[in-house]
């Protein structure tokens, strides 16, 4: 009796929900489109190495008057600038006649900024003074000024290095060009991850998004589905049958989990196909973790369901809870970047651990022993929440 009936009734309820979902073609399309959008957005709007910024129109105004008919400094500067820009293609460089022209163009929106080389540029440099370059930017767009500044400091540091190299070589003939570099810049940093291949932001964010989507899908879907059945009246049909009331909630959860996992799979396929994410760990473990994540959340969802009297309230309640979870659980930004009090909050959110564990498995190829802490916390969270949720739900159903 008992457990077997409970399960078989739950499966029937879940199956009914899945048929309903399947018949709702538009809903089904949205179900696939939502992760598509989500992945697409995050995959394409975030800067990945090499393609960031991108062709900001910037004009150079060269007013260098030269020193003894030589404009060597400004020539070197522009050529190095152009070289670097060819590599990164951050700017689209043009030349302009005067500062006034640049101002006009920025106001019109034709240019995003200007680089102005003053008339005493070569003179200053060749006479042992600092050379100053002015950046004129569209003040309404702080991003542009930052990009140009980054580029220019790159240019200057490269120019400085080359200049210093030449000076060192002049001082001693025994110094070769490579030695000179070691003297000018004795330290150099390279990074290497523990798994092969270059990492990008997308690899960081993909596991989190998967965990989030699956859990949110269940969290928002469950109260919605249950309060809808209450409103339509079909809940009474189930309540009046001689079944354990737990099987109602269990069946609904199963159906929502299936829905969430479907979205998770779509996300994963997109991540692999479109954005070249590789899954280092065991794929079954990935799904296991997603399921565990759902389990840890379901209790919370059920409690919310019991409190929300109608569908609208349920949805609002869930959205309210979703936002802090999205941003505090390290899905988009590493938790370590947050102030300590925010870190403390994120430590009580189950999504944090689910994301963390999933990231370890997907990106670092971790196995179960590596993520026991996260697993324990998720299981504990799930058990505690379910233990709270079940009696609350039973009470709410028969008021």
């Amino acid at each position: 009796m008992g457990a077997k009936d409970l399960l078989s009734h739950s499966f029937r309820i879940a199956w009914k929900d899945i048929i309903e979902l399947y018949r709702n073609k538009f809903g089904l399309v949205l179900l696939i489109v939502m992760p598509l959008f989500m992945m697409g957005m995050i995959g394409f709007i975030y800067p990945t190495s090499g393609s960031s910024g991108g062709n900001l129109p910037v004009a150079i105004v060269n007013m260098d008057a030269g020193y003894h008919n030589s404009t060597i400094a400004s020539q070197t500067f522009t050529s190095v600038l152009k070289q670097i820009n060819e590599r990164t293609s951050m700017l689209k460089l043009t030349t302009a006649g005067s500062v006034g022209d640049v101002k006009d163009s920025i106001q019109k929106g034709d240019l995003e900024g200007g680089i102005i080389i003053p008339s005493n540029f070569t003179t200053s440099l060749l006479n042992g003074k600092q050379g100053t370059v002015t950046i004129m930017t569209d003040t309404s767009n702080p991003q542009v000024s930052a990009t140009i500044q980054t580029l220019l400091s790159g240019v200057f540091s490269e120019m400085g290095t080359v200049l210093a190299q030449q000076n060192v070589m002049k001082l001693s003939s025994s110094v070769t060009s490579s030695n000179a570099l070691a003297i000018v810049q004795p330290y150099k940093v390279t990074t290497q991850g523990i798994v092969p291949g270059s990492s990008n932001y997308f690899e960081f964010v993909a596991p989190g998004i998967m965990a989030m989507t699956v859990m949110m899908s269940v969290m928002t879907g469950l109260p919605g589905a249950i309060s809808q059945e209450k409103e339509v009246g079909t809940m009474d049909g189930m309540m009046v049958a001689p079944i354990n009331r737990l099987s109602i909630i269990l069946g609904k959860t199963l159906a929502q989990t299936a829905r969430g996992l479907l979205q998770g799979v779509v996300l994963m396929i997109l991540a692999i196909v479109l954005f070249g994410v590789t899954i280092q760990g065991n794929i079954i473990l990935v799904f296991g973790l997603l399921l565990l994540g759902v389990f840890s959340f379901v209790g919370l969802g059920i409690v919310m369901t019991s409190f929300a009297s109608d569908q609208q309230t349920a949805t609002m309640l869930m959205t309210t809870l979703m936002f802090p979870m999205m941003f505090l659980s390290g899905v988009f930004f590493p938790i370590q970047q947050m102030p300590w009090y925010m870190q403390d909050i994120s430590k009580v959110l189950p999504l944090t651990y689910a994301t963390d564990a999933l990231r370890k498995v997907m990106v670092l190829g971790a196995t179960i022993p590596d993520i026991t802490t996260e697993l324990t916390i998720l299981i504990a969270f799930g058990i505690v929440m379910t233990a709270i949720a079940v009696p609350v739900f039973r009470r709410a159903m028969t008021r």
Partner: protein, 351 residues
């Protein structure tokens, strides 16, 4: 049956009563939706609960069908307590709710199969039963069509047969003819009668339409403000009005004025006088000379009588007689009661 009886020590011996309701109360906030309701329903009886909206009919039904819990009081169905042995009770009952209990995206058959599968019915039996039930309400043709495409009449027939999947001994019907055209209403009423006659199903039906109660029910309980104000057969209830030598008069007075109405009300023999529209007055009057007195007063005050009808009292008159207000009035009168707290939302009720 015997097995469950053995397993359950709570079973109460209830004689020939299928349902026993004792002093049932249900409180929402500070408002008593049910204020001590008691009645018995015999086996194979059709029992009507009649009353205006908000009188407590649906609440009674929800409590009896284990969907809500009483604040106090008890009820026993087929020997099982509705709170302590709710699972046993659920095996015995079926409920046709005011809301249509079905999923629009499932077909007729899928809907029935889903709800049927929640009961402990063998597959073949259930399959056969679904076919029989669909046939019974002429929906066999539409068995594989999604319920969302059905007309209101078809949906209500579905709603009724859904409640019959477990062959309930007790069937609750909450406003089964609400929103149906006369044709469909008749069909549903005939169906309920047939069910009762052929299967001996005990039926409790709530309604606020007098026709339903009059035509269907063996006995009728009239509920008002959460209390049973009268309980008897339709004939006996009507005798409450006519038995004490009362008669119902319908007068058509083209030049009816409020003063004229007032003068009729002042007559000693007139119990109630209600104005139906600008020219019609309905009186319940007592005494042998009531007829004469009324006409005299109207004539004396310059009223012209176009027609006079003496009617058999209807359940509507009974209700009026017992509660002093009309069925439609009472729901309106209760609104201030429910909004007792300023600015606070009205107390949420049921569901």
């Amino acid at each position: 049956m015997s097995k469950t009886a053995l397993l359950s020590p709570e079973r109460v011996e209830s004689g020939d009563a299928m349902i026993m309701v004792e002093n049932l109360k249900k409180k929402f906030g500070d408002f008593y939706a049910l204020d001590g309701i008691s009645f018995d329903v015999k086996k194979a009886e059709i029992f009507g609960l009649l009353g205006p909206n908000g009188a407590g009919k649906s609440t009674t039904l929800r409590i009896l069908s284990t969907l809500a819990r009483p604040t106090s009081g008890t009820a026993v169905i087929g020997g099982f307590n509705i709170v302590k042995n709710d699972t046993e009770v659920r095996k015995l009952i079926g409920i046709v709710s005011e809301k249509m209990i079905m999923y629009d995206r499932l077909t007729a058959r899928e809907n029935l199969w889903f709800f049927g599968s929640l009961f402990d019915i063998p597959r073949e039996v259930l399959s056969q039963r679904i076919d029989d039930l669909l046939d019974l309400v002429q929906l066999t043709k539409f068995r594989d069509a999604q319920v969302g495409t059905f007309s209101t009449g078809m949906r209500q027939r579905m709603n009724v047969i859904r409640a019959l999947l477990n062959m309930p001994q007790v069937l609750f019907l909450d406003e089964p003819t609400l929103g149906l055209d006369p044709q469909s209403s008749v069909e549903i009423r005939e169906f309920i009668k047939k069910l009762n006659r052929e299967n001996g199903t005990t039926i409790i039906v709530t309604t606020h339409t007098m026709v339903d109660a009059d035509m269907l029910c063996d006995r009728i309980g009239i509920i008002d403000h959460g209390k049973v104000v009268a309980l008897d057969t339709s004939t006996n209830l009507k005798r409450l009005v006519s038995g004490d030598n009362s008669s119902v008069l319908n007068l058509d007075i083209p030049n009816l004025t409020p003063d004229l109405l007032e003068s009729m009300r002042k007559l000693e023999c007139v119990q109630t006088a209600t104005q139906d529209n600008s020219t019609h007055v309905r009186l319940i009057a007592r005494g042998d000379d009531a007829f004469d007195n009324v006409i005299d007063v109207v004539r004396k005050n310059g009223g012209r009588i176009a027609s006079v009808e003496s009617l058999q009292p209807t359940l509507e008159d009974v209700f009026l007689h017992l509660t002093g207000h009309e069925v439609r009035d009472s729901a309106d009168q209760k609104i201030p009661l429910e909004r007792h707290r300023r600015f606070a939302a009205p107390q949420r009720r049921i569901r």
